[in-house]
Symmetry: C2
Subunit: 204 residues, 2 copies
């Protein structure tokens, strides 16, 4: 392995780390190359020695965050209770997302005007989704429609938690309910009509 290349990677990683520190404090759109250079102890042109544009920095930040996400979610959860494993998985996901909102915005919302991640930076997210797919399979859910329903449910919890109760637990504490609701329906979607119990009171 080339030492020069290793040095270069290290310098890039330092800049990306400073960039994350910056946006955590100032917000995702507040990333500026001047301030980034200042915090990294270098000057703006030097930043361009490592990244060809601001967008390339966002891409490297995206890649690092996606790796963090994959690592955070990767711990084994196999307790021989598939539903409990699913619950653990969502809990981890919600914790990961709510712990760092700018990171969530870059990874899962498309809030930066010109930026979309490269395939390389996006790869860990694909792996994470595949892992979720397998967890669902072990719980007896394999219909791809239900995988979509699952991602809607979990990102909805995260989204509401972040948007309407940042730092709180108003939605994250609903994870157990959400998972049980989801699994029950996917296991027996037809049975729901039998349980219908329309309210008789109150109209218009």
């Amino acid at each position: 392995m080339d030492w020069r290349e290793a040095r270069r990677r290290g310098a890039r990683a330092t800049i990306v780390s400073s960039a994350w520190d910056l946006v955590r404090e100032e917000g995702l759109p507040a990333l500026s190359l001047r301030e980034l250079a200042r915090r990294s102890g270098i000057t703006t042109p030097t930043v361009y020695a490592y990244f060809e544009s601001k967008s390339a920095i966002y891409d490297a930040m995206f890649g690092a965050a996606a790796e963090d996400c994959a690592g955070w979610m990767a711990d084994p959860v196999d307790t021989r209770d598939p539903v409990a494993d699913l619950t653990t998985d969502v809990r981890r996901f919600v914790e990961f997302c709510t712990a760092d909102i700018p990171r969530y915005q870059l990874l899962f919302q498309h809030t930066i005007p010109g930026f979309s991640p490269s395939d390389q930076a996006y790869a860990p997210a694909v792996r994470a989704l595949e892992r979720t797919r397998q967890l669902l399979r072990r719980s007896g859910v394999s219909d791809p429609r239900y995988l979509d329903l699952w991602t809607a449910l979990t990102t909805g919890l995260v989204d509401q938690q972040i948007s309407n109760d940042p730092g709180g637990t108003r939605w994250s504490r609903l994870i157990d309910d959400a998972v049980r609701m989801f699994v029950a329906y996917c296991h027996d979607p037809q049975s729901v009509d039998a349980g219908q119990r329309p309210a008789s009171s109150e109209s218009a």
Copy 2:
């Protein structure tokens, strides 16, 4: 009613309308007072004759969009089938959100750095939520926790539809499933364990 005041309101409304045209084309963060003035047929200082700051323009835009939302959702849905009414309501909501993504971003995501809506601009959103609460009640759901679960589920569908399949129907076509899943669980949350059916195949 004062004619001067009416004129003033009309001019303000024109500017706000131009602002929405602009962000629909260029994206929410691309709103600039220069371009807004140009499109409105006036100059930048004149904008300041009607709005004291850029943030005030965002606030007026928010208020207009919130009124649009309330109006869009307000049509009666009473078909004497509460669950069908709920489904109609979600369908309307998803259509409203996906029809105009910058509008969705301003209303429901908090993506503009310094901006948060005034209480006045926010009021229609409160009314809409109250209406949803009543619809849920008519379906036999009154636990506030389940209202939160409901908002998570519906915004999750919108969020995934916009983020991962803009212009498509990959998530919006799951609305029926989502509503039935939700109602079934809320009507009988305890029954779900009975339906457990862990998959025996496949491990690690």
